[in-house]
């Protein structure tokens, strides 16, 4: 049980929880948070799994995760812009047809 494996597993867990939240919730903000959890989990898996395989610190994958984090924050920001606009227009924090189920 090395650090890499533990954090890979941690990433797996985060992915699972995030995925759960993404499906379970209808509130758009919650789903965005869930998405961020998946993202964080994925980043953990990326680094942990790669380093576990390579056996050493892997700078390439770390750099890629940096890129990923920036993309994720951009996505979150974009999502928030849309959510707020949606909220302004409809006064709702969820998509209409999701109420059905």
């Amino acid at each position: 049980m090395d650090t890499n494996l533990i954090f890979t597993l941690c990433g797996v867990g985060l992915c699972g929880l995030g995925f759960f939240g993404f499906i379970y919730h209808r509130h758009l903000l919650r789903r965005l948070i869930a998405f961020n959890l998946i993202g964080n989990g994925t980043f953990l898996v990326m680094v942990g799994f790669a380093q576990r395989g390579q056996g050493v610190t892997d700078h390439v994958i770390q750099a890629l995760v940096l890129t990923g984090i920036v993309v994720a924050v951009a996505a979150t920001a974009l999502g928030l812009v849309l959510i707020r606009r949606w909220f302004q227009l409809k006064g709702s924090t969820q998509l209409p047809e999701d109420d059905a189920s």
């Binding site: 995925f19 993404f22 499906i23 209808r26 059905a100 189920s101």
Partner: protein
């Protein structure tokens, strides 16, 4: 050369005149056209009557290779046909004087005439069939010319029967041409090849009954007593006199007479012939209209000819001998019957004709038909002679007896005319066209044995008094009964067309039901374009499913992941 030219013109001249008659300019002259239309045919028949040399006119590009010719028997037919049509046309000029639909009548007249003449000169079955059809369908127009309810009914039945007949004929022609190995469409080849056909019985059946419609054999005769009386009188004359013979002519040219012996078919034909002969007489005597009586008389007479044809199946070897006789008999019947029909029209003009001439004119064709005067004597004698030669004495006897029926019919006819004269309050004014043509036809009928017998050997009555007596006794006996019979008021009458009344309702019901059904269909055609829209606005299961999966995209992704890996594990 002249013959060929005349051959070409025989059917085409009337046709051209028919086209001319369509124009308004010739509206007045259409009747004259009708009269002169027969000229080429008449000349042709006169030129070739009795000639053994046959003129051919071959037109390979036309239809499937048309050939027209001067058939020896056909020339006799052509002769009486043209004569009868000619006089009827003259008669018609007078008859249609005040008819506003005269132009149509004459156009159809010319077309019918063209068909009638054309079929007599056709050597190939295709032109024959074509002309036959032309005659039939244009003749329909003559039948319903008056447009009255009765005429329309008669026309409908005429048409139905005619179409059935056409189809039987077509079948026969198919089979016949096939019997030649698909090589020939000439009538004579087909007649010769029929004995080799695979479907010989079917073929003969179709030929017999197909043309039998025109010839008015029993069961196929249903239209005849309806159509002949309702047509305008000149048309009745040609229908009953000339066109009815087209069936006979077709039999003569297409049946394998002389090529095969078949007692079965022979007897069948003979039975049918006698049924027609006697049955026609019986039913005819129970008619209320003079023209209907004449129509049944035609059936009866055609029965005799059918019998003769039947005999040729029994004794094929004598065909060359009997056929000319048969043709002459047809000639005699055509002219006499024509004259009788015309006299129906003349009947109301009795005031303008000297009584002697009138009585003579009325009696002569009737006596001729019975066989004791005019051409009738020759015809009957020749026929009997021919049949004697066949050694079929029973049949000769029966033919002799058939004069019973004829005599009865003639009595009935004359009696009805007399009734008519009495009942009509005023006589029609004299019409010279009608009277002249009537007279002309009478004379032609009387002189026929002299003028038109061709190379047929005819002997005058004086040379064979015994035979003449043989003709006489039956009518004399019959007269006694008939005189008694007609003086009694008729207790029961048979409706015109006898059996037709049993099956007729079927036709009319069918048409009505079709109409009704169609109306229902009409109502069903409602614009349903917008159905979809309506459906769209209802929540449908598919839409609900779509919405559900829309809100659960992520879960579906999970499901697909699961599914994919499951499949891999199974793999």
């Amino acid at each position: 050369m002249i013959s060929q030219g005349l051959l070409f013109l025989t059917p085409l001249f009337p046709m051209m005149l028919a086209i001319l008659a369509c124009f308004k300019t010739f509206k007045k002259n259409a009747g004259i056209f009708a009269a002169i239309a027969v000229l080429p045919a008449f000349l042709l028949s006169l030129l070739n009557l009795g000639q053994l040399e046959i003129t051919y006119l071959s037109m390979p590009a036309v239809l499937l290779g048309s050939v027209w010719h001067t058939h020896p028997t056909g020339m006799t037919f052509l002769l009486f046909t043209s004569v009868l049509w000619f006089f009827s046309a003259l008669y018609g000029i007078g008859y249609t004087k005040s008819d506003d639909k005269a132009q149509r009548f004459w156009i159809l007249w010319l077309l019918t005439l063209s068909g009638n003449l054309g079929l007599l000169v056709s050597a190939d079955i295709i032109s024959f069939y074509g002309f036959f059809a032309l005659m039939t369908f244009a003749g329909y127009g003559l039948v319903i010319h008056t447009g009255k309810e009765l005429a329309l009914r008669a026309g409908r039945i005429y048409l139905i029967m005619a179409v059935i007949g056409e189809m039987l004929i077509l079948t026969a022609l198919f089979l016949g041409s096939a019997a030649t190995g698909h090589t020939s469409i000439l009538a004579q080849d087909i007649a010769a090849a029929i004995p080799e056909s695979n479907q010989i019985n079917l073929l003969l059946f179709c030929l017999f009954f197909g043309f039998g419609v025109k010839a008015g054999i029993p069961l196929m005769h249903l239209w005849l007593p309806l159509a002949h009386p309702v047509a305008p009188t000149p048309a009745s004359a040609v229908l009953s006199g000339a066109m009815i013979k087209a069936g006979l002519f077709a039999w003569i040219s297409l049946l394998p007479l002389g090529y095969m012996h078949s007692s079965g078919w022979g007897i069948l034909l003979i039975i049918f012939g006698f049924v027609a002969s006697f049955g026609g007489g019986l039913v005819g005597m129970l008619q209320l209209a003079p023209k209907a009586v004449l129509a049944y008389s035609s059936i009866s007479q055609m029965g005799l000819m059918t019998v003769t044809i039947g005999c040729l199946f029994l004794k094929p070897e004598l065909t060359p001998l009997v056929i000319p006789v048969l043709a002459f008999f047809a000639l005699h019947h055509a002219l006499s019957k024509g004259a009788l029909f015309l006299s129906v029209g003349i009947n109301s003009q009795y005031r303008s004709i000297p009584i002697v001439l009138f009585v003579l004119g009325m009696l002569l064709p009737a006596l001729s038909l019975v066989g004791i005067a005019g051409s009738g004597i020759q015809a009957k004698l020749l026929l009997k002679e021919g049949l004697y030669a066949l050694y079929l004495p029973g049949i000769v006897m029966s033919i002799t007896l058939s004069a019973l029926a004829t005599t009865g019919l003639m009595y009935r006819f004359l009696w009805l005319l007399r009734q008519e004269r009495r009942e009509s309050l005023q006589a029609s004014p004299a019409d010279h066209w009608m009277q002249l043509s009537w007279a002309g036809l009478l004379i032609c009928g009387f002189l026929a044995p002299l003028l038109f017998s061709g190379n047929l050997e005819t002997k005058s009555v004086l040379q064979q008094p015994i035979e003449y007596l043989g003709l006489l006794w039956v009518p004399v006996i019959a007269s006694v009964f008939a005189f008694w019979f007609i003086s009694q008021p008729l207790r029961a009458s048979v409706p015109q067309g006898d059996l037709i009344v049993l099956i007729e309702p079927w036709f009319s019901v069918k048409e009505a039901s079709a109409d009704k059904k169609e109306d229902k269909n009409e109502q069903k055609v409602q614009p349903s374009l917008l159905n979809w829209v309506d459906k769209d606005q209802q929540p449908t299961p598919s839409a609900a499913l779509e919405i559900f999966s829309r809100s659960q995209v992520a879960a579906l992704l999970g499901v697909i992941l699961l599914l994919a890996n499951l499949m891999l594990w199974i793999n």
